[in-house]
Every structure is written in C-alpha cells, then in structure tokens.
C-alpha cells in the first residue's frame, strides 16, 4: 500500500513527461485519422511541448526523488528539459520547411518520433538509476535510428541508419558490460547507493578504470566524442538535414546531461560542495578519462573538418569538436565548470540550429550540400549568406556572438587557480583558432569565390516564413552575445544536482 501511495504521489511530479506521452499518442491517433500530410499533427506536437514546458516551469525550484529513486527533479534536469523542448519545437518547424522530408514517402511520422526522443531525453536528464538510464538512452537511440532512415527511398539514408544502429547497439553493449561490473561490485543499480559503496570500500584501480571506460563508450557514442565518433560523419551526411540537426542538438544534449549526472554523482565522495567544487572519491580519477576524450574530440573534430567537402559532414566534425569543448566544463568538477557547460550548451543550441537551418534552405534549392557547389552563392542569396557567416563565426567563438560567451566561461572555469588545467584552456583556445579556418572556408566559398557564371544566375528567393525563422535564430545568436546576463543567471541557478549541496 505504501508503494501505491508513493507511485500516486510521483505521478503528480511526472506531469512534464506525462504530457509528452499524451501528445505522442494524440499525434499517433491524429496521423491515423488524417492519413495525409498535414500540419495539424505538427501543431498538436508543438502545443503538447508547450504544455509540458509549463509543467517544467512549475518545477523550477523543486528537488524531489520520484518512483522509488528512479528519477529526480532538480534545477539541472529542469534546465535540460527547457533545452530539449525549445530545440525540438524549432526542429519540428524545420521539418515543415525541408524538401527532403516533403519528398519522402512518410507523412507525419516524424512528429511523434521526435516526441518520443524528447521523452527519452527528459528521462535521461533526470534518471538516477542505471536501469532507468539504460532504458531512456535506448528509447532515445531507437528513435534516432528510425529518424536517420527517414527518407526510406533514399539509399544514403537507410545506409546511415543501419550504420548508426550497428554502432549504437555495439556501444550500448559495451556500456552495459561496464554497468554489470559496477552492479557486481556494489550490489546496487542506484547511483547514490553505488557512490556510497565506492566511497567506503577500497576499489581496485583496474576495475574502476575498465568500468568507467566502458560506460564512457556508451555515453560518448551519444555525445559523438572521439574515439566513439565513427558513426557521426556518415550519419550526419546520410540523414535528412532536419534529422541531422535534431541529432546534433537535442540528442547530444541529452547525452551530456546523462554523462554529467552519472560521473558527478557516482564518483562523489561527500554530498557537501566546498567552495563550489564537487568532492570526488579519493583514488577515482574519472577526470583523466574525460580529459582524454575531450582533447581527442577537439583535435580530431577540428582537424578532420578542414578537409571536408560536404557541409553536413563538416558540421558533423564541428559538433564532435564542440562536444569536446563542453566536456571541458565537466572536467573541472565544480559549479563554475558546470555552469560554463550549461551556458555553452544553450549557446550551441542557437548557433548550431541556425547553421542547420541555412543548410536546409541551401539543400532545398541546390539539391546538394557540396561546399564547392556553393561558390558565389552569397551573391545570389545575400541575406541567407550573411546569416550563415554569422552562425559560422559564432560557432568558432568570435566576440559579440553567443559562441564567444560560451567559450569565455569555459576558459575561465578551466583557469581556476590551483586546478592545473591552464594547459587545457590553452589547448581549447588553440583549437578555436583552428576551427576558424574551416568555418571561414564555408563563408569564403559563398562570398569570395565566384562560379564562372555567377553573374548570369538569378538571385534565389525564399518564402517569408523562412526569413522569419532565420531572423528568430539570428536574434538570440547576436543578442545573447552582447547581453548575456539572463543565460548566465539561468545556468548559474541550474548548476544544482539532486542531493548535493
């Protein structure tokens, strides 16, 4: 009977997720009734997400454990839920614009597939039990496999979907082996219990390193970090562009939420935060593993991107590198680092979605994402070209854009005196310089190079709606670069994990 009352009580705090589930089912039913391509299903999905956002807002300051320790609500999870809702609403709108989607044989399936990924992401951001983490990760992954193969008649799309599935299944297998070792050693799946056991019992080095590497393999695959990034360029290139944007932003943000909570909570020695620093169990050096992954991601992502000819592949490598920057915030293991990571994630949302929206518009008109084909394109579509230049500069971290604010806070967090991460901050800055090179390559191709017949080709016009969306993405990219107070404030108040203070 006690269980029953607890479940009933938990359902009251489970409303954001419940509204996503309800919307998902409504969209499914609406799709069956309507039977043809219709914006109504998308509108239902967006409305449901807004309702969910309202319930998330109601939980802003709550700290609660739900369903006998399966999930927690804390400001950290709430922040990520906002990110997921915002990005998926924008991406639902992207789907309406993309010709790749219009030409595919499926009609409205994407709206409820996106909702189920959002549900998976919600649970990933708030689960504190290895079982729940695995299940929510798989819910998100299964949906991404389907979305990657969305244009079924397109060979590239089903090919990328299959590669994604094979890599995904293999890496989640590796992660599960790590989890099983952790379970065998500690006898529990609850990460707070595990943390308590690890803190009071001597842990053999070989065991703990193997476990951490195996778990990092499964999560690094989700955040597309080196060396678990093999799928990223292929899947990014092969999937329809709105799906690529979704994977690059929402799905990887979900991965970051999970990796952060798992590492910060599981290897926590005491729940007291001293001077903003998390106290890590002595002898468990998980930061070393994250540092290796982070530095490798930055270097591989930035250097391989230089040679890319496909814009989507280039953005793929760029997001590998961006993931590397974000992990730097986790390495510091204090509230400043965590805040910096959250700031960077929200900056990344605007600038990356902007870059992908321009890609969608260009692919719609040109039918290809080859950078060579974009020569002189800046003169044919001046506004879109300038917007692309802004997003590219923001991604490389030029001042007066939101990307700079993200990098600035990350570097500040790394340069905390006594932490010994100065070299890391320098690596990060050098990498930003390298990244400028390939981001500018796109701009250069659009504005400085001219195809032989540029002058003869007519200018390209887009619908008014696409300009509106573009402006709506441009405004936060520049505005928050100049007036970043609100983002910083939100991130600072969100860097609170459940049960740690």
């Amino acid at each position: 009977m006690n269980n029953f009352t607890e479940i009933l009580k938990s359902i009251n705090s489970f409303l954001p997720e419940l509204s996503v589930i309800t919307t998902l089912l409504l969209c499914l039913i609406a799709d069956i009734i309507i039977r043809k391509k219709s914006p109504i299903v998308t509108i239902i999905a967006i409305a449901g997400l807004l309702v969910s956002a309202y319930f998330v807002y109601m939980q802003s300051a709550v700290q609660e454990s739900l369903f006998s320790g399966m999930l927690v609500i804390d400001p950290f999870a709430v922040f990520f839920k906002y990110l997921f809702i915002l990005s998926s609403i924008i991406i639902l709108i992207f789907f309406e614009f993309s010709n790749e989607i219009k030409e595919s044989t499926h009609k409205n399936e994407y709206s409820y597939l996106i909702l189920s990924l959002v549900l998976g992401a919600f649970l990933m951001a708030s689960s504190v039990n290895l079982l729940m983490m695995y299940l929510s990760l798989e819910l998100a992954s299964l949906t991404s496999y389907i979305l990657a193969g969305y244009s079924k008649s397109e060979k590239k799309s089903s090919e990328s979907s299959m590669k994604y599935l094979i890599y995904g299944a293999a890496s989640s297998g590796i992660m599960l082996y790590g989890m099983s070792l952790l379970y065998g050693f500690t006898g529990s799946l609850d990460i707070y219990e595990i943390s308590r056991y690890l803190a009071t019992n001597p842990t053999p080095n070989a065991f703990i390193y193997l476990t951490m590497i195996m778990i990092a393999a499964g999560l690094g695959y989700k955040t597309s970090s080196v060396p678990f990034h093999f799928w990223t360029p292929d899947v990014y290139e092969g999937s329809p562009t709105p799906v690529t944007a979704f994977l690059a932003v929402t799905s990887s943000a979900a991965g970051f939420s999970l990796i952060t909570r798992l590492f910060l909570t599981t290897f926590l020695g005491s729940t007291q935060i001293v001077d903003g620093a998390f106290s890590i169990i002595a002898g468990i050096h998980w930061q070393e593993i994250i540092i290796v992954i982070s530095v490798a991601s930055m270097i591989v992502g930035n250097f391989v991107a230089i040679w890319q000819k496909s814009l989507k592949r280039l953005l793929g490598y760029s997001s590998i590198a961006q993931g590397g920057y974000m992990l730097a915030g986790l390495v510091v293991a204090d509230t400043i680092g965590l805040t910096a990571m959250l700031i960077y994630l929200s900056a990344y949302l605007f600038m990356n979605l902007g870059a992908f929206f321009v890609t969608i518009l260009i692919v719609n008109k040109l039918g290809t994402d080859d950078i060579e084909q974009m020569k002189g394109l800046g003169y044919r579509l001046p506004f879109v070209g300038v917007a692309m230049a802004v997003f590219m500069l923001a991604l490389s971290g030029i001042p007066a854009t939101v990307g700079f604010i993200g990098k600035f806070y990350l570097v500040t967090a790394l340069m905390k005196p006594g932490a010994g991460y100065l070299w890391f901050a320098i690596v990060l800055m050098l990498n930003s310089v390298v990244s400028l090179f390939f981001y500018l390559k796109v701009v250069k191709s659009m504005f400085l190079e001219r195809a032989d017949n540029t002058d003869e080709l007519p200018g390209i016009k887009f619908s008014v709606q696409s300009y509106i969306i573009l402006i709506l993405l441009l405004i936060p990219t520049i505005f928050f670069g100049l007036y970043f107070g609100p983002i910083v404030k939100l991130a600072e108040s969100s860097a609170v994990l459940f049960g740690i203070r």
Binding site: Y134, L135, E138, Y145, E159, A169, S180, G184, G187, G238
Partner: protein, 100 residues
C-alpha cells in the same frame, strides 16, 4: 557448486567472441547476431552477479535488456530489409555510398 568466477570467465569469452564478430564479419545480419551474443554475455554476467548477491535487481535489468534487444532487432531487421530493397545487398563492403 560452480563459483562466480567461472560464470564471469564464460561471460567474458562470449563477449570477446561477439566483439570479434562485430569487427570482422561483413554481413549485416551476422554482425547483428554477434551483437546479440554480446548482449547475452552481459545478461549472463548480470544474472550470475545477481544470483551470488541474492538480489533480483540484476535480473530485472536483464529483463529490460531482453525487451530492448527485441525492439532493436525489430527495427534492425526492418532497416536491413529497407536497405536490401534499395541496394540489393546486405554486405557492408558493398554499402559504400558513404565512407564506412
């Protein structure tokens, strides 16, 4: 009474066989079967831990792993069939529009 280590050893052998299969084979369906072998080795290790701990939590995790594996197999096979319709092969070496 067979000791825990024997079961764990067996599970790691199975895991290694699965990894070899994933790395070496080129037929998508066989890669898929190798992944199933990996999952089974995990299930075996979880159940042996659970059994020697006297705690059913591990078995519940296995229950969910089996459920997810079934869902994954359904999607995986559907993708493989869609790919076969498009390209007429399930051999990964011939699936090369994208660089592997």
């Amino acid at each position: 009474m067979v000791e825990l280590n024997y079961y764990l050893g067996l599970s790691s052998i199975l895991f290694a066989i699965g990894v070899i299969g994933v790395l070496v084979r080129r037929n998508a369906i066989i890669i898929f079967m190798s992944i199933e072998l990996m999952f089974n080795s995990i299930n075996l290790s979880l159940i042996s831990f659970s059994s020697f701990l006297g705690d059913v939590t591990g078995q519940i995790l296995v229950f969910f792993i089996i459920a997810v594996a079934a869902a994954e197999a359904a999607i995986g096979l559907a993708i493989i069939i869609a790919l076969f319709r498009n390209k007429g092969t399930v051999n990964i070496d011939e699936i090369n529009i994208l660089k592997w």
